[in-house]
Amino acid sequence: MIMEMDPEVTGKRTFAGVEDSVMPKALSVDRLRRLYGDTVAVDGISFDVGQGEIVGLLGPNGAGKTTIINMILGVLEPTSGTIRIEDADIAVSRVQALERTNFAAVYAPLPGNLTVYQNLRVFGLLYGVEELPERIEALLGQFDLKRLRHARCGVLSSGEQTRVSLAKAMLNRPRLLLLDEPTASLDPAVASDIRTRIHEFVTRDRAGVLWTSHNMHEVTDVCDRVLFLSHGRILIEGAPGTLPRAHGMETLEDLFIAVAREPLALKRT
C-alpha cells in the first residue's frame, strides 16, 4: 500500500485505494464533557483521529488536555459524551477498547523496581500480546534498548525511560496511541530520535496518534492536524502548516500564545 502524504494541503494522511469514509476512525470523541463540581474541565468537545493520522492536542496548562487523555484511557469517567476507539465504546466495551489503545506519558513511568525486559513482559501479558518474546525482542531492537534489557527502569536516564515507555506503548500494536508530552525534558537529539520512531510506527502500523506537546516546532514537524484547546473547548483546528496564517500569525508558537492570552478573540474554525 502506498501512502500519500500531503499534510500541508489536507491536514492528514490518506492511503491510496482506500476510501476515507469506510475506514473506522481510530478515535471518535462526541460531545465529551467533564465537570469537577461547578468547574467545567472539558466542555462538550467533539473530534476524531483517523487511521495513520497524528493529531496534536494543544493548549495552555489547565486547558483540559490531560483530562481528555485520562477519559480516553478509561481512568476518568466523563460527565457526559461518548468515546469510541475504532468501533468500541469505552463505556460499554472497556476491555476491547483498551486492548487497541496504549499510551506513554512523562507522569506515568513504568515501575522503576523492574527491569526493562520484566516491565515489557508484564505489560505484554496485560495487553494480551501474541508471540510476546519475539515482540519484546523487536521493540528492544527498535528502541535501542538491547543493552539495557536487564537494567532497572528506575536507574535509566530520562531519554532511556522515555524509550522504554514508548516500547511499552507499542507492545500491542495499538490502533490508537496517546502520547502526553512524550519528549518533555529530553535533549533535542533524543527528542528528534523519538519523533522519528513514532513516525515510523504510524507509517508502518497505520495507528492514530493523539499527541500533546508544548513544543510547537515538534508539533509542526509531526502532526497532520492540531486542535487548540482553551478552558475545555476546542477553539481552532487545522493543519499546523496553514493554521497560523489563517489566523494572522507567523508561526504556530505565536498562535499558541494568542490562544493562551486571548482565547475569546479566536473562535473555532
Partner: protein
C-alpha cells in the same frame, strides 16, 4: 494467549519483585520465625511451672501459628497492592485492559504464595524445635487453615480498598488490623472469657470459630463441623463484601478523578 494472562501478569510482577529483592522476601520468614521462637520458649516455660498434665504447646504455640498464618495471608494481599501504590503504577495498570476481578485475583494468588512460604517456615520451626504435633488437631487442621485463609484474603482486599479510597498516606491502616481484631478473635482464651458485647463481635469473626475449635479438640472434647462451616460461610461472605467494596471504591475513584490523580494531576 491463555485466558488468565492478565492475572498472571500481576503475579509475575510480584515474583520479579521478590526475586530481585531479598529484603522483600525476608519479612515472609522473619516475623513468623521470631513469633514461633518467642512463643515456643514461653510455652516451654509455662509447661515447666504449670501443673503437670496440661500441655501449652498445642494451645498457645498452635494459636500463634494459626494467627500468624492469617496475618501473613492478609498482609500478602495488601503488600502486593501497596507495591503498585509505591511505584505509582495505577495509571499504567488501570489504563490497560486489566479488569478489577483480574487485578484482585492476582493480588490473592500472590497472597497465597507468600503465606504458604510463611506457613512452611512456621511448621518446620514449631515441629522440629518445639515439638508441636499437628496430629493433635486431626483432620480439622485443614478446615482451620482454610477459614483463616479465606478471612485473611477478605481483610487484605478490604484494607487495599481503604488505601485506594483514602490515598497512599493511609497505608498504615493495613498493618494493625490483625492486632485490632485479635482480642475479639479469642486467639488465646475462650470466647466465654469476653464480656457480652465483645462476644457478639466475636461471633461475627470467622477466626473465633477456629480458635474455639482448636481449644476444644486439644482439651479432648468434640467440635461440631457445622459450627466451623458457619465460620467458613462468614469468611466467604466477607470476601464477597470486600470485593464489592473494592469494586465500588475503584468505580468512585474513576468517577471522581481520584484514580487519575494517583499518578498525574488531572488538569481542570
Amino acid at each position: 494467549m491463555a485466558p488468565f494472562h492478565r492475572t498472571a501478569a500481576i503475579v509475575l510482577r510480584q515474583f520479579y519483585l521478590m526475586r530481585g529483592s531479598p529484603v522483600r522476601v525476608l519479612p515472609i520468614f522473619a516475623w513468623v520465625a521470631v513469633d514461633i521462637v518467642l512463643w515456643g520458649f514461653i510455652t516451654r516455660y509455662l509447661n515447666s511451672v504449670a501443673s503437670p498434665g496440661f500441655d501449652f504447646v498445642p494451645v498457645l504455640l498452635g494459636a500463634i501459628l494459626l494467627w500468624d498464618f492469617f496475618t501473613r495471608v492478609m498482609h500478602g494481599v495488601s503488600m502486593a497492592f501497596l507495591e503498585d501504590v509505591w511505584s505509582h503504577n495505577f495509571l499504567n495498570l488501570f489504563a490497560s485492559p486489566l479488569s478489577i476481578r483480574e487485578y484482585v485475583g492476582g493480588l490473592v494468588l500472590t497472597g497465597i504464595a507468600t503465606s504458604a512460604l510463611g506457613l512452611l517456615t512456621m511448621v518446620i520451626l514449631a515441629t522440629t524445635v518445639f515439638g508441636l504435633s499437628f496430629f493433635v488437631y486431626g483432620l480439622m487442621l485443614a478446615p482451620f487453615l482454610l477459614v483463616l485463609f479465606l478471612f485473611g484474603i477478605a481483610l487484605g482486599i478490604f484494607a487495599s480498598a481503604l488505601v485506594l479510597r483514602f490515598g497512599p498516606a493511609s497505608e498504615w491502616i493495613v498493618w494493625p488490623i490483625p492486632a485490632f481484631l485479635s482480642p475479639f478473635a479469642a486467639v488465646f482464651y475462650p470466647v466465654a472469657t469476653l464480656p457480652g458485647w465483645m462476644q457478639r463481635v466475636s461471633s461475627l469473626l470467622p477466626p473465633s470459630y477456629v480458635f474455639e475449635g482448636m481449644r476444644a479438640i486439644v482439651a479432648g472434647g468434640a467440635y461440631r463441623g457445622t459450627t466451623l462451616l458457619f465460620g467458613a460461610c462468614l469468611a466467604v461472605l466477607y470476601i464477597l463484601l470486600a470485593s464489592w467494596c473494592f469494586t465500588r471504591i475503584h468505580r468512585h475513584a474513576v468517577r471522581t478523578g481520584l484514580l487519575a490523580r494517583y499518578s498525574a494531576e488531572s488538569a481542570s
